[in-house]
């Protein structure tokens, strides 16, 4: 079986780091490029963090592209955990891995155009605000045709939002871009907060990394601890979600998920901009444009995730933890 060609558009972000490391630890996936977008943290920090993650995984060879520094139209907002900013040298060593000269929007466009006539078209994992993707999709109608599907981490359907009551961060940060992507005609798989809240990483999982993992897995454990996402009052139990990793897990282990088709719409004007609605029952006349992941088998997902992170084939000896 040949590996699935993917491109990851991302704004690391600790959970983005988990997604990137999981993809790099998985032979089933062929990570063709990483494109970066401002989101959780400003673009400079996103670029530094992405470079560090690729270095940590021993994959500085992966093409890596800087994208948009802010959303299409609205004022910029950053993530709730943006206090962490650039991953400090105490968490991840400084690396010379830096983005190439091609803009992320062009890199996405080229990847899509190049795969339009391939047997396996490119799958895009969208882990941040959708700014880069929206701009690529208005350039040329052939770009949408070259994308197999876009798996988006975003939306808060029945679950209330995380950054504001009506939206998850990615949809809130660039609702206009989201409207363009959901209206593009490209098949979309949506991973909303409703699903990512079902899988909580606990201290036990992190200790497993401390004990069993190579340097990459251990670094990730430290990163995750540094941005404590646990919220017992909200989740009713200890542990924090690892949102973006669920996107990659869906590509690897679809057997762990249940899903349903829906018509997805995005509010991009007014106070509730970033609100994303899903019509699962055909009560609107809107066309179905997405498959929504509704449930994940928590234990199996986390077990497989941390198994992969533990085994991540890293040049461990090169990673000095200062």
């Amino acid at each position: 079986m040949t590996a699935l060609p993917i491109l990851i558009d991302t704004d690391p972000g600790v959970d983005d780091a988990a997604a990137l490391l999981l993809a790099l630890a998985s032979p089933e996936l062929d990570l063709r490029a990483v494109t970066a977008v401002a989101g959780n943290v400003p673009l400079d920090a996103v670029l530094a963090n992405t470079g560090k993650i690729l270095a940590l995984a021993g994959r500085p060879d992966i093409p890596f592209h800087a994208g948009c520094a802010g959303p299409l139209v609205r004022d910029q907002v950053f993530g709730r955990h943006s206090g962490l900013g650039a991953f400090g040298p105490d968490l991840l060593p400084v690396t010379p891995v830096s983005p190439g000269p091609v803009h992320a929007v062009n890199a996405i466009a080229r990847a899509a155009l190049a795969s339009a006539d391939q047997e396996k078209r490119i799958t895009i994992c969208a882990l941040g605000p959708l700014t880069n993707l929206a701009l690529a999709l208005v350039l040329d109608p052939l770009i949408a045709k070259g994308i197999e599907r876009i798996v988006i981490m975003g939306g808060a359907l029945a679950a209330l939002g995380n950054r504001v009551p009506w939206a998850d961060f990615n949809m809130l940060a660039d609702p206009h871009a989201a409207a363009t992507v959901f209206g593009s005609g490209v098949p979309i798989d949506l991973v909303p907060l409703d699903t990512t809240f079902q899988a909580l990483v606990t201290d036990d999982h992190l200790r497993r990394l401390d004990e069993e993992a190579g340097a990459a897995g251990r670094c990730f454990a430290d990163l995750f601890r540094a941005s404590d996402r646990s919220d017992p009052a909200r989740f009713g139990r200890p542990g924090g979600p690892v949102h973006d990793a669920v996107v990659v897990a869906w590509l690897l282990w679809p057997d762990l998920f249940s899903s349903a088709s829906a018509a997805i719409g995005v509010e991009y004007a007014g106070r509730t901009k970033g609100y994303l609605f899903a019509d699962f029952h055909g009560i609107s006349d809107l066309p179905i444009n997405a498959r929504v992941l509704r449930a994940v088998e928590e234990e199996a997902f986390l077990d497989r995730l941390f198994e992969r992170l533990s085994r991540l084939d890293t040049n461990a000896s090169q990673v000095s933890r200062t």
């Binding site: 994208g67 948009c68 520094a69 802010g70 299409l72 139209v73 803009h103 929007v105 062009n106 466009a109 700014t131 929206a134 701009l135 208005v138 350039l139 040329d140 109608p141 206009h176 409207a179 363009t180 991009y268 004007a269 007014g270």
Partner: protein
């Protein structure tokens, strides 16, 4: 004098076509390339029209770069006054060449980058929805320093709109791109309906242009007669507002125009007022002005110049 280096972004469109012909007839400006956008007509159609207008002027050397095929966020709307092909009743031979390979946004980015590297600047002219420019300055906000000025047709500042009571067509067609451009820090001269409604293509003016155009008068006449709105009630007479050529005329003869600086906000959230250019004439917002809005045009002088510049600039189709 060194000709001013410009890139023209357009969506021909009859008035765009006249604007291009005026640019080609003017040695003071050096058109480095034309970028095309979806607007009055779909992208394939506006690209074909641009190639045909270049050919009509014998400018088969002119790079024509197709750009964005749709607005950033909203669904496309089309112009109402340029006919189904975008060039009225004018039928021109199929273009003899293909458009350039590079996307309009890549061409714009490379051209501005090159200007910055050479420590010069470029002038941008916009005659259509601002999608291409919105993409460029969202991708690369740093490029603003390589542009000395954007001269753009769009907006309705003290005039009511033309496509809706609130909005002029180019703003309505991509209000989100317009918001990006107006917020980018670019020096902007806006030629809106306030200006173009002062410059009507009256039958007398069209007749003078046709007479000056000599053997090519039918081409120009076909375009301009189709442009007549026949809306005497609105415009106090026959003719149509010749929007886009004013962009080029402003570069050639800024002395024919009066402008006033103000802060302009593009409404992009409201259904009723989508695309409205809300203008802070009196500093109520406390935000720095961002646009020089053309308030007055010497229309007779503009039409005299147009007649002079179009004369002899058009090659007879098929010859």
């Amino acid at each position: 004098m060194t000709p001013r280096k410009v890139v023209i972004d357009c969506d021909p469109g009859i008035d765009d076509a006249i604007g291009l012909l005026l640019a080609f007839g003017s040695p003071e400006i050096d058109v480095r390339g034309i970028t095309v956008v979806s607007g009055n007509v779909p992208l394939g159609c506006s690209t074909r029209n641009t190639l045909q207008i270049c050919e009509l002027s014998g400018r088969v050397d002119m790079p024509v770069h197709p750009g964005c095929f749709r607005p950033l966020v909203r669904d496309p709307i089309r112009g109402l006054f340029s006919g189904s092909t975008g060039l009225g009743r004018l039928r021109l031979p199929a273009p003899s060449r293909e458009p350039a390979g590079a996307h309009a946004t890549d061409f714009l980015i490379d051209t501005i980058d090159a200007a910055i590297a050479a420590d010069t600047t470029i002038t941008l002219c916009s005659m259509g929805p601002l999608t291409n420019l919105g993409v460029v300055f969202r991708m690369r906000p740093d490029l603003v320093r390589g542009v000395d000025r954007l001269v753009m047709m769009g907006g309705a500042y003290r005039e009511p709109g033309n496509r809706t009571p609130a909005a002029e067509f180019n703003m309505l067609a991509d209000p989100h791109a317009a918001h990006i451009v107006f917020s980018s820090g670019l020096p902007i001269t806006a030629i809106g309906l306030d200006a173009s409604h002062q410059a009507l293509s009256t039958p007398e003016r069209v007749a003078r242009i046709e007479a000056a155009a000599g053997p090519f008068s039918t081409v120009i006449g076909d375009l301009l007669r189709f442009w007549d709105r026949g809306d005497v009630d609105r415009f106090d007479g026959p003719g149509g507002p010749l929007h886009d050529p004013l962009v080029i005329a402003f570069l050639l003869r800024p002395d024919l125009f009066e402008a006033r600086r103000a802060r302009v906000f593009v409404e992009h959230e409201s259904a009723l007022a989508l695309g409205q250019t809300v203008t802070d004439w009196y500093g109520q917002s406390g935000i720095e002005p961002n646009v020089d809005i053309v308030t007055k045009v010497d229309a007779d002088a503009f039409y005299s110049m147009l007649a002079e510049r179009l004369a002899g600039r058009v090659a007879i189709p098929g010859q």
